[in-house]
């Protein structure tokens, strides 16, 4: 597997093309969603939810596009022509702008949505009973008692102490 530091979005697209015969990958999975770094205006709009009364922000959130779209835009640029983008990262803006001309011209397929858990259980559960091919036994970075949940949330939010996955164990 190749890992790329995506601090510079343009660099990611160029490096991925270099790794894929200049075409881009067959598929891109956007596992970032609305947390993506890199869009200052959208960040300000999201932060406004912290100071504007809820009754107003609730309305704003359901009618306005405010997602930070850096990851999705990277996906659209990086994927090969005729390729597929799969969104698992959650988006929540009601009128987010998308580059439809670019998407149409590249003939991009786009699939998304909350996981349908039971749809996949019959495929996944047998893997877990036979062994651990996906490395779930060591997947959690932190296991904490219930009383320490607030601290674990704070570390996860700030990506501190190498926090990737926390299991609360009441």
């Amino acid at each position: 597997m190749t890992v790329i530091d995506s601090t510079d979005q343009a660099d990611v697209v160029a490096r991925v093309r270099d790794l894929t015969d200049g075409r881009g990958p067959d598929s891109v999975i956007d596992a970032v969603g609305m947390e993506a770094h890199g869009s200052p205006l959208a960040t300000i709009a999201q932060k406004a939810t912290a100071v504007v009364p809820d009754v107003i922000m609730e309305r704003v959130m359901t009618v306005v596009g405010i997602d930070r779209l850096a990851a999705l835009n990277t996906a659209i640029e990086a994927v090969r022509r005729g390729g597929t983008i799969s969104l698992s990262g959650v988006y929540g803006g009601a009128t987010d702008p998308l580059p439809l001309m670019r998407m149409f011209d590249k003939q991009i397929q786009l699939r998304m949505g909350q996981a349908n858990v039971w749809r996949w259980v019959p495929d996944i559960l047998p893997l877990l009973i036979d062994g651990d091919p996906l490395g779930v036994d060591e997947f959690a970075t932190h296991r904490v008692p219930l009383e320490q949940a607030p601290e674990a949330y704070a570390n996860f939010r700030q990506k501190k102490e190498g926090t990737v996955k926390v299991l609360i164990q009441p």
Partner: protein
Amino acid sequence: MRAVTWHGRGGVRVETVPDPTIQDPTDVIVEVTSSGICGSDLHLIEVLAPFMTVGDIMGHEPMGVVREVGREVTAVKPGDRVVVPFNISCGSCWMCEQGLQSQCETTQNREQGMGASLFGYTKLYGQVPGGQAEYLRVPFGNTLPIKVPDAPLDDRYVYLSDVLPTAWQAVQYAGIPQGGSVLVLGLGPIGDMATRIAKHLGAGQVIASDVVPERLARAGATA
């Protein structure tokens, strides 16, 4: 019982709240033994805060042991070890029969214009008490809980609630040709797991990116 509760954008607290009880004859009460914190839980403290209410119980990645069942529950019994899916689906409507449990027609939030209810996830999704607590009321006891073996540790099965099916669906929806290439953006739990599943299902080339050095190192180490 003790539970993780929402208190605005400052973060969460652990409070004593009433124990859940059987309300419908198909309910079960699960004593929670492990419960994940999801990236989408952070959205509740930030961007989705307007849809939360002070005191809401957080969490949608729980597993545990069945402690009590309603009188119409036959599929599980007290003592059974179960994982609870994050989406609340009846398992018998038209959408559930299509494998679209996130659109369950029994729990769809029509007045909000949204899909199936979720545990611990805003009034957009039913304002259902979540699983970061000592006990959880689980509806649809005959169809929703996933029975799992008694061993080994919780870590083996707890991700069936969200991380594994979310990453698995992401890979399936990506339509990677056998031996083909995939770029995974973001190496949080879902992105990390998606790289593993893509390789397991036969992707030829997996590339992943993130901005956090520890996450890049972690993913690179499992290559």
